[in-house]
Symmetry: C2
Subunit: 300 residues, 2 copies
């Protein structure tokens, strides 16, 4: 089933305990699409500048990605982010953020608007609302970040009242609700609108809150974390890709989709940038999905 | 099957965002025994002073606890700890530690030494080694803390080479191995001796590492954490109690025992001191155990 993603394309400089890379491929839409395209064809919408290598699209092209929403700005540079990780690597220290083409509105191709699933990666909630308005029949999931909780709360509240699913990390869930306890935070987020609330907890896994149930999933255990950049977007991409492929929102299909999400993220973190996500095959994903089932097997 | 625990009895002063209590019942052996006694009879060994209320033992008496190892010091005070929690309450700030009777060696009743299972709660590794020497036929699990990693590493290493199972928290696992990544830390701990390594992650659950498998369990989701004191000892008590009741160390029995451990801990944190653990019934434990199964149900 059709899946559209709106998000960012980036050139990243990343330093972790494993080393440093400069000008590598990044951005929420790229991580998301590479993960989702392991399960379904993706319609990508994002802004890019004049400095992005064309061969960066090779893998997504092979996986049948639709680039109608790729908006190229010949006179501008691509979004640039520089960050550094240390210690338990659960959070990056941001060193540089050059928005560049991200100050421009994204382009919404008419051909995308019949998508069954729409994912709005982190961006200004006002922009997310404008895009959402053009997808009246889609199931919409969105991400956000602390910046918008701080400076665009009314628009974010309006967005929350209109989306079907919210995907955010534990710190954002606490900040948005004022609840330190994540179970209370999940319940509070549901009251703000979204039927499905997914709280990502990094290496600790993720929670799902729906009107019918709560569900907890541990992350796939990784013993060689090289670069956590894009893990959350890979989780969202794997999850939405698997949901779109299943074309259903039953408890079972969402649990399975979340498990695919953590498996995608587990590959992402094992190398810098999108390297592992480009190289991984669907059969490797499925093998790790089965391993995760064993790791979590709890026979009551 | 018989289960002996050596640990502390305490009088605690505790401050959390929910309030403050003074001089309440605490100590690793008390939390452990109250949890374990929901599954099996417990043989308790611990030092206590002249200021501990006798009625504090009522519930453990009702649950058939053996007090032959309770050593009363008429001229000394009970171990006293004062601590405070804030924020996400994952760690206490210790304000006071008066060892009092804990400077005395514990008493080992001859009648305990045929126990099938022995749990050595946190204490000086040298003392743990001395006790262990008197239980030649027992399956021995032990806990430790950062203090001993710092000041008694040779004795701790000797202990690790002799015990069957190690139960410790994530921070201690990282400190003891020098590995930030918990999966690597678990593997490193196994190389130090214990066949079973259980890493407690507080609200994030626990990992199990054995020669045959790795297993991950999320914590039972609690939305009203009042006082986290004793959660780790309750986890260990519920786990060892369930293991002793099952009298087996198969993967399935250990997974189930860990689940019982997190269920016991989930009750502990919902009230100050040992209140919830004293009031809870086995049928309430089993109901929450089943709920946990639903919460974690992941049908691949």
């Amino acid at each position: 089933m059709s899946l559209t993603v709106f998000g960012s394309i980036g050139r990243d400089d990343i330093t972790t305990p494993s080393g440093s890379v400069e000008g590598v491929v990044g951005g929420s839409a790229v991580y998301f699409s590479l993960a989702a395209s392991l399960f379904t064809k993706v319609r990508l919408a994002a802004n890019v500048g004049n400095d992005f290598p064309d061969q960066a699209w090779d893998v997504l092209r092979q996986r049948g990605t639709d680039f109608a929403g790729l908006q190229v700005f010949d006179d501008k540079k691509t979004f640039h982010w520089a960050g550094s990780y240390s210690g338990d690597m659960n959070e990056a220290e941001t060193l540089v953020t050059d928005l560049n083409v991200l100050t421009e509105k994204p382009f919404v191709p008419e051909s995308y608007t019949d998508s069954k699933f729409l994912f709005l990666a982190n961006m200004a909630p006002e922009t997310q609302l404008e895009i959402l308005g053009q997808f009246p029949n889609s199931t919409v999931f969105a991400d956000t970040m602390n910046l918008w909780i701080d400076i665009a709360r009314p628009q974010l509240d309006a967005l929350l009242s209109k989306i079907d699913g919210l995907v955010l990390n534990d710190g954002e869930a606490r900040m948005l609700t004022g609840e330190q306890n994540l179970i209370r935070a999940g319940a509070a987020l549901q009251k703000m609108g979204p039927k499905y609330v997914i709280v990502k907890k990094g290496e600790h896994g993720a929670f799902l809150f729906t009107p019918d149930e709560r569900f907890g999933l541990l992350a796939y255990p990784v013993d060689n974390v090289v670069d956590p950049t894009g893990a959350g977007d890979s989780f969202a991409g794997g999850m939405m890709g698997a949901l779109a492929a299943a074309s259903s929102l039953t408890p079972k299909s969402i649990h399975r989709a979340m498990a695919y999400g953590t498996v995608c993220a587990s590959f992402t973190v094992q190398d810098f940038s999108v390297r592992a996500l480009e190289q991984v095959t669907r059969s490797e994903i499925d093998a790790r999905f089965a391993e995760l089932g064993d790791f979590l097997s709890f026979p009551p």
